[in-house]
């Protein structure tokens, strides 16, 4: 080969670590520089076609470096995708290295000897040209030649501005590439954002192991999920309490994470923290519109599906799933409720802030604008729940979480019914004969009972859990379908948010 020109020195950031100079690359032998870009299909083709021969070239003493006219994270992603095993470098705008090498288009392969002299170059994908330059066998698969794209150093200022604008979105795309997502865009969990989320807490603190991955759930990983979900740092104590709750063995999060059932994890938040972080328990409480509601529930789901390994379609085998598996977190509206709030029912003081997690299916809306007595209304609510899981599955063998809207709650209160009374009357009112339930999917209890034996939907009034939430107008309550066969129990944890 004949030396035709001296090769310009450079120092560029590398995916492997610190900056890399040309002098480092050709210290022990010749180096092949492959100038490429993510946007150029011929560049990607060239990387894929050369990837298999890089080890052979390395064995012969030649190093191969891809110089991407792209940000480092993009370079890393394309190198991963193309299985390119060489050195991966990123050249920032305004692409002075490319200009120094007089590039016109990408890809351009430049061979440089150990004395830093250019000995040859091939432009575009040119199998015969590269074979001659490198003395290695290359695939004969078509295309044997393919022209590339303009190198970015040839762009004018306006074109560069547009390209740089597009590049700004790329870290969001990288999250999808890494599969650090539930399918919606996420906030990249940079070290700085995770530290802000931790707020000085020790990230290495171990909260427990989560099935099915049997992953160590550290505070740092929970913080990473909270960042991904879009939480503000002040939401984090609620996320942590929720994670602590689902890690209780009695919750059996691993079973819920992998089951063919649709169940997700429903979060109900009580106490002063609700107001402090803007958690909604009023109009539209079970729907979108409030950042705290959307992101806290999503953070827990990301812990379960990413950290814990219960990712949909992989170890999560849920037949249909349900929208609540994206996020489901709401506050009880303690101000409009005529009754003691849920956390007091569960033994906490009214002034404490508490998260209660319930393994549950999607909410079923229950309209009642016509009942004229508390018993009628209790029956309407209870009969709606009678069809949950499966119409003839009596008793349910699990918990039904009812969200009573303010108008229904006020009616019960005006009729003089306590929450316990509502629970007891609902329990008593929803009853059928075993004979009427003995078709389709039914329980062993019904199967073994005489036709006229009466069976209730619940084993006890304690299986009816009641919270009050929703807008001031409209007589729509809701009941969440249960999660069964998991031995799961609702779990409540106090939120450590003042410390």
């Amino acid at each position: 080969m004949t030396t035709v020109a001296g090769a310009p020195e450079f120092s560029l950031p590398s995916v492997g670590g610190g900056p890399v100079r040309l002098a480092d690359l050709c210290h022990d032998g010749p180096v092949l520089l492959l100038f490429v870009s993510e946007e150029c299909p011929t560049s990607v083709l060239t990387l894929r076609r050369l990837a298999p021969v890089v080890p052979q070239l390395a064995g012969a003493g030649m190093s191969v470096a891809a110089v991407f006219e792209d940000p480092l994270e993009v370079a890393a992603r394309v190198a991963r995708r193309t299985a390119f095993p060489g050195v991966v470098l990123s050249e920032p705008a305004p692409y002075e290295v490319s200009r120094a090498y007089s590039l016109e288009s990408l890809p351009t392969a430049v061979l440089i000897d150990r004395d830093a002299h250019e000995v040859g170059r091939v432009v575009g994908w040119d199998a015969a040209g590269l074979r001659a330059l490198l003395s290695v066998p290359l695939t004969d698969e078509p295309p044997l030649r393919k022209p590339g794209c303009a190198a970015k150093n040839t762009y004018d200022a306006e074109e560069l501005r547009l390209v740089d604008g597009a590049g700004g979105f790329d870290e969001l795309e990288e999250m999808f590439e890494r599969e650090w997502t539930d399918g919606l865009p996420v906030i990249p969990p940079t070290v700085e954002r995770v530290e802000a989320m931790l707020g000085g807490r020790d990230g290495s603190l171990l909260l427990g192991e989560m099935a099915p991955a049997m992953a160590r759930v550290t505070l740092e990983r929970v913080a990473a999920c909270a960042v991904l979900a879009g939480c503000r740092p002040e939401f984090f104590p609620v996320v942590v309490a929720a994670v602590e709750a689902v890690l209780e063995p009695a919750f059996n999060v691993g079973g819920q994470a992998v089951t063919t059932q649709p169940c997700g994890q429903v979060l109900v938040v009580n106490g002063p923290v609700r107001e402090a972080i803007g958690l909604n328990g009023s109009v539209g409480a079970l729907g979108p519109g409030w950042r705290a509601n959307m992101t806290i529930g999503r953070a827990l789901r990301l812990v379960v599906s990413l950290t814990g390994g219960g990712f949909p379609g992989r170890l999560d085998r849920s037949t249909l799933g349900n929208p609540g598996k994206v996020t489901m977190c709401f506050a009880e509206d303690e101000d409009v409720s005529p009754w003691e709030p849920l956390h007091c029912d569960r033994g906490f003081s009214a002034s404490s802030s508490v998260v209660t997690v319930v393994g549950a299916d999607a909410p079923l809306s229950i309209s009642d604008h016509r009942s004229t007595s508390p018993l009628e209304l209790a029956r309407v609510l209870g009969e709606a729940a009678a069809a949950t899981w499966s119409p003839n599955w009596w008793p349910l063998g699990g918990v039904s979480l009812f969200v009573i809207c303010p108008e229904h709650a006020r009616s019960f209160s005006e009729w003089g019914w306590s929450k316990d009374r509502v629970r007891e009357e609902m329990f008593s009112a929803v009853v059928r004969s075993a004979g009427s339930l003995r078709w389709g999917e039914t329980t062993p209890l019904v199967g073994g009972a005489s036709d006229d034996q009466m069976v209730r939907k619940w084993d006890s009034p304690e299986d009816i859990m009641i919270v009050v939430a929703g807008g001031e107008a409209g007589r729509y309550s809701a009941v969440f379908g249960p999660c069964l066969g998991m031995n799961t129990e609702p779990i409540s944890k106090e939120v450590q948010w003042n410390t």
Binding site: W180, V227, N252
Partner: protein, 90 residues
């Protein structure tokens, strides 16, 4: 850009598969009943087929299908068996 992974990367790496036996004759095969309904019937049939190929079988029962097997059950299978068969789901 440096990110904090939400994963326990130690657990994310795929475990390599154990070598597959060429011949079942004389192998000790654990049949793990996870207590899903009718799973035992399925394992009865698998057991017949394995024994017909010369395998020695033994049954192990999990406490509940929806929770990971207790460590002592996993140890028991590893100590006594060469292979394990587990029926999953319905």
């Amino acid at each position: 850009m440096e990110y904090v992974s939400p994963f326990d990367e130690r657990r994310r790496a795929a475990e390599p598969l154990a070598p597959r036996p060429v011949d079942l004759s004389g192998t000790r095969v654990a049949l793990l009943d996870i207590t899903k309904r009718r799973g035992d019937e399925f394992l009865d049939r698998v057991e017949e087929l394995l024994q017909a190929r010369g395998a020695q079988t033994f049954r192990v029962v999990k406490e509940i299908f929806s929770k990971p097997a207790a460590p002592e059950i996993v140890r028991h299978i590893a100590n006594r068996g060469d292979l394990a068969v587990e029926g999953l789901a319905d």
